[in-house]
């Protein structure tokens, strides 16, 4: 572009950012952005064809001549004289760099040309195997002389099918299969053992069921399985122990009975005491007989049942001593019930350990032992009667909720009947004696007496 002639009065307003301070090294740095410079030059001068050495030299001379002229009006002569000196070394440096770069450019162009020629030769040789005429025309003479025409061919190739090595597959398969078969064999052994144990367990359970025990399903937090009801809840008992035991299986498949709570060991014992030399002496005794040996599960269930019954019986007796307190029945130390009867007879009911039941049978055969046995049997029967009464009450049609029930006094169901029946005989005898005496007195006074005795 041609710049108009500049006068000193013209004010320059540049739209581009102000250039950096004049730095001799900058001439080199600006030259590095070749990709920007080349298109700029092409725009300025049309094309590189128009750029010749002579023209450039002229331009440089013109530029160097104009710059001292511009610098002349400045009052610094030193800067104007030093500037041509500065510009001169700049130019030589500039030329040197320019030459180096030009040489580099030439070299690169030469290399590129070489590469292109080689590629052309290669493709020509390839084509010459198919179309000799087309190939030879474009081949270079050097190649033609060294390599015969049509000696390079090409073809499409199919990838070879992968041949699997069967032995590798077989190896892996065999290993996996044998591992699986080992596991299966071990599992089947274990299962067979388990099956044997389970069979043993269930055979024992079946024995228990056939013996008439009531089995039920148990759903406890720590156990799920079969349970056996050995208690008396279904018979009407309202005791705190429900009497349910679990039937567990141990590692060998044996049936293990586990009752809830602690194992019971006490049985009921009835003693008859009579006074001898001012002190009460035991003249008869009877203890309930419960098998103390640990046998198979059926025996254990029976044992648990019997002991639960004894427990409940003594609990009821102890509870009723309170009701019969007016008749002199007392409870000592929480485990001995004393019942005073007429004719200086005293009945003592207590619980003794299982082992002791055999130790204390030295008074066998005496009449008081027979009485003690009869009392013990009567107590057991009365508890059964109480159970039956509870059951009937549970089954009868209930009164509406909220009906006033006038049951304020608890009745003594076990001790009450026993005590009254034991006490009635002497009382009856004394009553008869009294009436007979009255009758004789009245007869003596010649009064007719009509007697009818209903007892």
């Amino acid at each position: 572009m041609s710049t108009p002639s500049l006068s000193a009065d013209d004010i320059f307003v540049s739209l581009e950012p102000p250039p950096l301070a004049e730095d001799p090294t900058l001439a080199v740095s600006s030259f590095r952005n070749l990709s920007q410079i080349i298109p700029q030059i092409a725009r300025e001068r049309g094309s590189f064809m128009n750029v010749t050495e002579d023209k450039l030299r002229k331009e440089i001379r013109a530029a160097s001549q104009s710059t001292p002229q511009e610098e002349n009006p400045s009052p610094e002569p030193s800067s104007s004289t030093s500037q041509p000196k500065q510009i001169a070394p700049d130019l030589t440096q500039f030329e040197e760099d320019f030459n180096n770069t030009r040489a580099e450019l030439t070299r690169l162009i030469g290399a590129a040309q070489n590469e292109a020629a080689i590629s052309l030769d290669f493709v020509s040789l390839l084509i010459s195997s198919v179309r000799p005429a087309a190939g030879t025309t474009s081949m270079s003479p050097h190649l033609k002389s060294h390599v015969p025409v049509g000696s390079l061919g090409s073809d499409k190739i199919k990838p070879l099918p992968r041949v699997e090595d069967p032995s590798v597959c077989l190896g892996w398969k065999m290993q996996a299969v044998s591992a699986a078969s080992d596991r299966l064999a071990r599992a089947s052994e274990r299962l067979a053992k388990e099956a044997v144990h389970e069979k043993k367990y269930w055979e024992q359970v079946e024995e228990v069921a056939v013996a008439g025990e009531v089995l039920s399903k148990m759903r406890m937090p720590d156990f799920r399985g079969m349970g056996v009801r050995y208690g008396f809840v279904d018979a009407g008992s309202t005791y705190k122990e429900k009497g349910i035991a679990t039937l567990r299986r141990d590692a060998e498949g044996n049936l293990v009975l586990k009752t809830e709570g602690e194992k019971r060991t006490k049985v009921l014992s009835v003693q008859v005491m009579r006074p001898l030399h001012g002190q009460y002496v035991m003249t008869g005794q009877y203890a309930s007989k419960v098998n103390a040996e640990i046998g198979d599960v059926k025996c254990q269930i029976k044992q648990a049942r019997d002991l639960l019954f004894e427990d409940e019986l003594f609990y009821q007796i102890a509870r009723e001593t309170r009701i019969l307190g007016s008749q002199g029945v007392t409870l000592d130390l929480g485990n001995t019930v004393m019942i005073p009867l007429p004719d200086d007879l005293q009945i003592v009911i207590e619980t003794i350990d299982l082992e002791d039941q055999y130790n204390s049978m030295e008074l066998d055969g005496g009449s008081d032992s027979v009485i003690a046995e009869a009392i013990s049997i009567a107590l057991h029967l009365l508890l059964c009667k109480l159970h039956r009464k509870n059951l009937n009450a549970r089954r009868s049609v209930p009164l509406p909720l909220g009906t006033r029930t006038n049951i304020t006094d608890a009745k003594s169901e076990i001790l009450g009947p026993l005590v009254s029946s034991l006490a009635v005989s002497p009382i009856k005898d004394s009553l008869i004696a009294l009436i007979t005496e009255l009758k004789s007195v009245l007869n003596d006074s010649n009064l007719d007496t009509h007697e009818s005795l209903y007892i």
Binding site: R394, R395, S396, L401, G402, T403
Partner: protein
């Protein structure tokens, strides 16, 4: 006495009634008690209706329903006439979303006076008296039915009745000879109902209920009693859930399906 009855109803077809009975036996732990009752239903009538036994023009249907009196007596005993009649006046069950049906009932046993029928061994019972008494209250006999089945007691509180009903056709006018209507209808009704020959409906109705005494004679907090009763009924419902569905909305539905 005035009672609040909490009920749950269900229905069981004939084919399954044996299963149901054995299940209830197992759950309640008792053999079923036999139930055989004869129910008479009396409706109120306006005083203007003359002579007719059945009120053709009477109070509106809903009022009629609410004011029926059901009188029943047990026939299960050895002597039919020895049991006394029990009057039950139910009200319409309470509305609202509830788990159990709540209904107020008034029940009393009809006892003849002391100076009456002392040596009544010839089989004629006090049914005639009953009819005359209710007539004096402006109630006339409408129809009667027989109920037979079984009864269980669950948890000492819930009564479960599993019964079949046999509706009886009321005696027609021409069957009643001329005379004292009430007495004769009573005699006819009381004598002619023979449970052995009656035709019972195939469906067994399961009625599980708890009676709560209300009123001045009762003890305890009413709400608490209702709560306990409801809990017990729900426990029963859960326990027999797979065998009997209570409450069964189907049987309480009075609509009739065509073609069935």
């Amino acid at each position: 006495m005035s009672l609040q009855e909490l009920s749950l109803y269900g229905a069981v077809p004939s084919s399954r009634h044996a299963t149901v009975l054995s299940t209830l036996s197992a759950i309640t732990g008792m053999r079923p008690l036999r139930v055989l009752q004869h129910h008479l239903v009396f409706s109120p009538t306006s005083a203007s209706v003359s002579g007719a036994l059945h009120p053709s023009i009477g109070p509106a249907a809903t009022q009629l329903e609410a004011s029926r009196i059901d009188v029943h007596r047990d026939l299960a005993g050895p002597v039919k006439s020895s049991s006394s009649w029990t009057l039950t006046i139910p009200t319409i069950p309470e509305s609202g979303k509830r788990n159990v049906q709540v209904q107020y009932i008034n029940r009393t046993t009809f006892r003849p006076g002391d100076g009456d029928d002392n040596d009544n061994d010839d089989g004629s019972d006090n049914t005639g008296l009953l009819f005359r008494f209710l007539r004096a209250l402006d109630y006339v006999y409408a129809y009667d039915y027989l109920e037979r089945g079984y009864l269980f007691v669950y948890g000492g509180m819930v009564i479960i009745k599993v019964t079949q009903l046999s509706p009886q056709s009321p005696p027609q006018l021409h069957e009643i000879p001329v005379g004292d209507e009430d007495e004769l209808v009573a005699a006819n009704v009381a004598q002619s109902r023979d449970p052995a020959n009656a035709k019972f409906l195939a469906t067994w109705v399961v009625h599980a209920y708890v009676d709560i005494l209300t009123g001045p004679d009762s003890t305890g907090d009413d709400l608490e009693k209702v709560r306990i009763g409801t809990e017990r009924l729900e426990a029963l419902k859960a326990e027999i859930g797979g065998i009997i569905t209570i409450p069964d909305r189907g049987i309480l539905d009075p609509r009739v399906q065509l073609g069935k």
